[in-house]
Symmetry: C2
Subunit: 184 residues, 2 copies
């Protein structure tokens, strides 16, 4: 079965291709509007919009960062925050508030014609720290300020292999893989 | 000419009706999706969506709060911030960061069939303070933490008449009124 994977990012696509290797993944780059709301509503809306445009089985995903100091925000608005404050600015806000706990999450939605989207989540708990490392994925990245619990390297200090081992995208896509296998 | 004014809030509608008294304003409550993006893009998208549904001249508006400490955010995501942090929580974040300067803005869009939306903005500079007063407009309100520059009362401590005198909605709608008068 062919499945479209919507992303503008080559690395993300390769990660998905590797995990979902039993299916033929096609990379699709479609400009989708993102609505305001919680992470579930945003990714479901993206999936439905993409299905309307492509009319075939597809996967979309969305990344959130929930900071304790901000009552769970920026959440799905993480990209806006990184754009306006930079990673160091976001760390400093959390630090100034005296609470650097954070959670990052990848929510993947699978949808096919005639069906509602199915959601699969991968998440990582950690703390925000002064930026360390230089592995940034994408223009607006939180990798260098996010230290996963129990690790001594930020996501920005990890090699690609170390990164892949703790990837929350991988967790989400492995749940999706299991779902696809079970109904095959 | 009849113009639809989109709001779920009676006070906002009455304020608009008072300012735009030369036109027949009809209150319309339509559930519109709000996209992510900057304030201009969000209000233009709302105006276009509303026009698609109602097919008549109409006004929509959106309120933002730009905090210096957050690099201009929460901006149009102010409602989410108030929902997650409360007004006092938002004040505390700004205070902890050592910068309580803020700007609130009302962006009104006028659109009619076959035309692009026209935007009119009213804004107020001020600072965030510990909540004072109890005049909250709407469930999620920043009135009690916003002290406009040069005033000694927060928006939450003002009487309705005082509030109306400094209203950024009024400023936006008066610009819109002038536009409608000039092309009449």
């Amino acid at each position: 079965m062919n499945i479209a994977y919507l992303t503008g990012n080559t690395q993300k696509f390769e990660e998905a291709e590797h995990i979902l290797s039993s299916w033929h993944l096609e990379r699709a780059a479609v400009d989708l509007e993102e609505i305001q709301g919680d992470a579930d509503a945003i990714v479901c809306h993206k999936a439905s919009e993409a299905l309307r445009l492509l009319d075939k089985p597809l996967i979309v995903e969305d990344v959130s960062m929930s900071c304790s100091a901000l009552g769970g925000l920026p959440g799905p608005y993480i990209k806006d925050f990184l754009r306006k404050l930079g990673d160091v600015g976001l760390y400093r806000v959390a630090h100034a508030c005296g609470d650097t706990k954070a959670q990052v999450s990848c929510l993947a939605a699978y949808i096919e014609p005639g069906c509602e989207p199915k959601l699969f989540e991968g998440k990582l708990e950690g703390t925000l720290v002064e930026p360390r490392g230089d592995m940034r994925h994408g223009t607006y990245s939180w990798n260098c300020i996010f230290l996963p619990d129990g690790m001594d390297k930020t996501m920005g200090e990890m090699t690609m292999a170390e990164h892949a081992a703790v990837s929350m995208r991988k967790m989400a896509l492995e749940k999706l893989k299991k779902y696809l296998e079970e109904r095959a």
